[in-house]
Amino acid sequence: MSFLQTLKIALRAIIDNKLRSFLTMLGIIIGVASVIVMVSLGQGATVGVTERIQSLGSNLLTINITGRGAHTALSYDQAMEFAESPHVSAVAPVISATAMAKYGNKNSADIQVIGTNSYFSTVRNFEVSRGRFLLAGDIERRRKVAILGAQVVEDLFGFINPLGQDIKINGQIFTVIGVLQAEGNTMMGSKDNQILIPITVAERLMRFRGVRTIYVQAAGPNEVSLALSEISAKLSKIFREDEEDEESFRVFDQTQVLEAIQETTRILTVMLGGIAGISLLVGGIGIMNIMLVSVTERTREIGIRKALGAKRKDILFQFLIESLVISGIGGIIGIFLGLLSSLGLANFMNMPLKTTLTVIWIAFTFSLLVGVSFGLYLANKASRLSPVEALRYE
């Protein structure tokens, strides 16, 4: 008998038992769909976190100075000396404090005012959507200019164009020269609710000389650790740090944080995938269960077919193709359901999801594998039935 005929017979059996076939498929459908959604969720989280962290600035080192004794901060010029290293491409020292801003009779809520220099834009990946960023001249000439976060603009100005307007920060007048690109909330606090001013002006405004936070951008991904050790060495010299003492400064490497978080989300993905994999396995057992019933129920049919001349392989392939088609179609429906739910979650629940082709393949292959292995077991069982006993079966 030709393969095409066996296929026809198997398909016919599936169609003749629509409800049973569908119920069998259901396990696989749910299994495949949940694997796809779960893994997409995990991968989406990984990508989301990675993007957020990278948006803080690439190759970023953050220096925090706690200082010791009377020596609790670096001067702006000392901080800028880090830029002389060949491993460092830019340095942006920062002074920050909370303050109130006022435009006309409108007051803002508490806002973080950050004093920095022109390099801050590249180091921290801040861009202006309107106007311009701080320039070297603003720092040198201590111009009272300010760049506002998107939220600040909305609070103070509404629909009025803020560029060129004067605002008051802690009573001092600043001219708005730029607006930062809106970003939304991030896990590291929103940049929409900040005001950037020249660091030299900030020192006076906040009545504090020297910087305690410095952002340093390394020259490249491979220079990050070099820059880190060089800066640490310099700082040790400045603060005359010896090992027994409490540390007076800290240098963070952004990539370390990134790697730690990526590792966490990777574990999350594997875990979610594993849980979903179990449901796929349960789906497979469902196939086996129903096929088992179907083989028993159809013992007589097998006997009749054998009496009419069906060979072992004819029966074997009939049942094998049946379970293959059921798990295959179930797998395909599962893929569509999984993609659809992923899209739904991403769009309506605003969750970051990333579905890769690999996941789809793995889920589908696994469902087929489950179908084949369980199907093969039962098909073999069916094909071995003796025709005499099968015909006698009621």
Binding site: M1, Q5, A307, L308, G309, K311, V388, L391
Partner: protein, 227 residues
Amino acid sequence: MLIELKDVSKIYRMGKIEVRALDNVSLAIEEGEFVAIIGPSGSGKSTMLNILGCLDAPSQGDYIFNGKNISKLHDNEMAEIRNKNIGFVFQNFNLLPKLTALENVELPLIYGGEKPSTYRRKAIELLKAVGLSDRIHHKPTELSSGQQQRVTIARALATDPSVILADEPTGNLDTKSGIEIMKIFQKLNEEGKTIVIITHDLSIARSTKRMVHIKDGKIVRNEKVEG
């Protein structure tokens, strides 16, 4: 000689007890014969049918079918002989309930490797020959038992086998349909088909040409029916 059983025994083991369903049976059936194997239930006639029909192999002895020793054949070769050389007519019809009459008749042709264009045409002709040309797309449940048995006969004839084996073919039929079915068998035999009917019903056996009485796994009498 078409069918030849030489000292055939069939032994079943039920726990420690050995049951000889067939005990040293020898039987020869020539081509074109119309034979009834008759015996009470438990006499071994079903075992006889299973062995004659190549559904089961004898425990001892040889079964020569058409010059071939069946006792030594592999499963697949037995399946091929069932397909090409033996047509079964069962008491309870054994039609596949989800398939139409036409599809049921097509089955042996499909397993015999015929092309769709050929088996469809042949199956339609066969159903026509048993007078069911207007019922070919009906499922078994939509047919009377007499009609179902005619579908079974059409299916048995599909591959033009050397012998038709009928197991109590009239057992589930009313008298009228039973007579009709026996008429079909007689007509087929007149056309040269070898037919073996297994029955416990003497009146059925009498409408054949030879009766083989079987009891306790042994052939006790072998007589020609006086026409």
